[in-house]
Symmetry: C2
Subunit: 407 residues, 2 copies
């Protein structure tokens, strides 16, 4: 970029170059910059800032800093490292991000990103746009093995269905979500609060390299930039915006994952939470989200798909549990069985009265039920059969308990 | 009861006696009997059934059975055993039960009970009516230690606030709910599917005796009656009807506790569920209830109170977690702290630029933050302080993780 002489009117640079420069100037997610760019266009904002003068006619600090930048070299260096810079208008720019223009701000962060630095072989617009789109799976860094286990298998389920799993590459739930998607050979997107060439946390260098080899690593920060707390807050809005919905797996009351959930809510995305023991602190924030913020409870990938898929493309699954032996009885058999006492035996006449049926027919049915192992008969009459010795191992303790003590 | 001669017109007996007799005749929760009694009154139904003749003029089986009963002796024997029989119109009759008249049927059971056999020193109308009323806490017999622990402490919380805890005296969650209420010296009501003089399951003989000493044991079945599957289904509607709401703590997909929840829903009571690990079968039915039936997720007694208490009597509790050191910072201090890199140190000028503040002021603030232990300074500049060696034990791992890795 050629530096015009002092006092000369700043030449307008191209949109892409202006966006890189403005991105270098401020912090990501500054809603003032986003608003100006949306109204005037990046080149005009860039030019206006370059010309800023204080009362003595000296260029302002902002103008001086802007003049010191070299966005064209930034772009060339990034390209050499396999990193591309996406702008609105590019084919690969995800339409979903424009929702940020009108969503307002959280923690003084907001607005669409000026652009996105991207590494990886997949197309961001395709992963976020087609079919069921992408889903964010986020949660605590200080997760439990329960939480990471659920996040991993949920991510594997989703990625196995072709849904891209978005997360933040942090320890705990994020890591488990990316790994789950990778384990299913499915697409995954890591959205970072630092440059896409950096590994933060450094322990995830290999994980991020694997994500960049098969999915996408994305950031609105230029290569080389370090993470700050503010940048994590800004980053969270991108995770929420790129997904059809956000699933929070474990999050204590003050977890950053809840900030992502708040963004998802602000963006009218589906907000989902995976419950856990009420005695587990890392689940408290999720329960609060479901309890007071109308987040949907989800327990597995199919629950998530049902909520995020376009209407009519997924058949809702009602979990019913496995079939029980009772389910194969005729209505009449069921009626008689229901009338047999659970503990103290009763004569057939008493069973018949309870069932509201004739005694003769009931005796025939009781004999059939005895052959099938449902009831037993003794001197005192008929009663429900005791579960077989090994029965609980086969049928499960629930069935056994139901049989013993009624519904 | 004097037996009128054959062919003589049956004399109408009193309402209470007619209800005891009709209760002995059929199964509890027979919606046809309930409807007839609601329309014609128990004495008229009793008299009509006594007169039933088949085509040959011989009295029907029903009329013969009715004639063989001795409800007055039933009442006298019960009274001698400390058991009273409540009818609609009695002061102690809970108004809430009339909701069953219009709620329809489930599993061919429905309608208000003909009467209730009651043991115990408390008044049923008072426990179910005043203030926040009563709450049902139900769940699996095959519960986990997690489930019984949560049920027990939730019941203790509720009973400690004077809310009567209703349950079914079964193994598992029911038992834990009664015990929790008793441990808080609070009121509890056991609603049985057999006579209130019986112990079912027999292992709960002592528990039921304790409940009868301090709270109430209730059944629509006459003393001596044995439990059947049908009677459990009928009983569940009473548990749901007597409570302002029903909390399901653990329930597999086919658990009878879900039948109680369905009744609560049919009766426009608050339906609540306690979540658990999604990997735990006894929590699956509860998750399904929250996911597809709009049951409210609750995690502790105060959540339940908030939902069942009359509007305005309980202040909703938003769980926020404990205060963090950050919460005591000024807005300006927070702004500077947010701009300090988490990993790689940066000079004060860089922090100032990120924070959007003048360098001189930022240096002063950074020094204050260093004294307070939030940041540290080295040759390369400023960065967030490492958590103190013993810090995680004091502040908890979540706080530590948040500090290390941003929100």
């Amino acid at each position: 970029m050629s530096a015009p002489g002092r006092g000369a009117r700043a030449a307008e640079v191209g949109d892409r170059v202006a966006r890189v420069a403005l991105g270098r100037l401020g912090e990501p997610g500054d809603p003032r910059i986003a608003r100006l760019v949306a109204e005037l266009g990046a080149p005009a904002v860039h030019a206006a800032l370059l010309e800023q003068r204080d009362v003595c006619g000296v260029e302002t600090d902002v103008a001086a800093r802007l003049r010191g930048l070299d966005p064209e070299t930034d772009l060339a260096r990034a390209a050499a490292a396999g990193i591309r810079f996406l702008c609105p208008g590019d084919h690969e720019w995800p339409a979903a991000l424009s929702d940020l223009d009108h969503a307002g701000a959280l923690n003084q962060r907001g607005g669409a990103p000026l652009g996105l630095w991207v590494r990886g072989p997949r197309r961001l617009d395709e992963l976020c746009g087609s079919g069921t789109g992408a889903v964010a799976v986020v949660g605590s860094r200080s997760a439990t093995t329960y939480g990471t286990g659920v996040a991993g298998s949920m991510a594997a389920d989703l990625a196995g269905e072709g849904v891209a799993v978005i997360s933040g590459a942090a320890f705990g739930i994020d890591q488990a979500a990316h790994r789950g998607a990778l384990s299913a050979r499915g697409p995954t997107i890591a959205v970072l609060a630092c440059g896409v060439d950096r590994a933060y946390p450094s322990a995830h260098r290999e994980l991020l390299a694997y994500v960049a080899d098969t999915g996408l690593v994305v950031s609105e920060l230029a290569p080389g930039c370090a993470p700050t707390k503010l940048r994590f807050l800004a980053r969270n809005r991108l995770i929420a915006a790129l997904g059809r919905g956000t699933v929070v797996v474990e999050a204590a009351f003050r977890s950053g994952a809840l900030n992502t959930a708040n963004w998802a809510s602000l963006l009218n995305r589906v907000v989902m939470g995976v419950p856990g023991p009420v005695t587990s602190a890392p689940s408290e924030g999720v329960h609060e989200l479901i309890r007071t913020r109308d987040a949907s409870l989800v327990t597995r990938g199919s629950d998530v798909l049902e909520l995020v898929a376009p209407t009519g493309t997924v058949v809702p699954v009602t979990h019913r549990g496995s079939e029980r032996p009772h389910d194969r009885l005729t209505e009449r058999q069921q009626q008689v069985l229901d009338a047999v006492p659970v503990a103290q035996a009763a004569p057939a006449s008493s069973v018949a009265r309870t069932a509201g049926l004739a005694v003769a027919g009931v005796v025939t049915i009781l004999r059939g039920l005895r052959e099938a192992g449902f009831v037993e008969v003794g001197e005192d009459g008929w009663r429900l059969a005791s579960p077989p010795a090994g029965g609980s191992a086969v049928a499960g303790p629930v069935l056994t308990a139901e049989r013993q003590a009624g519904p």
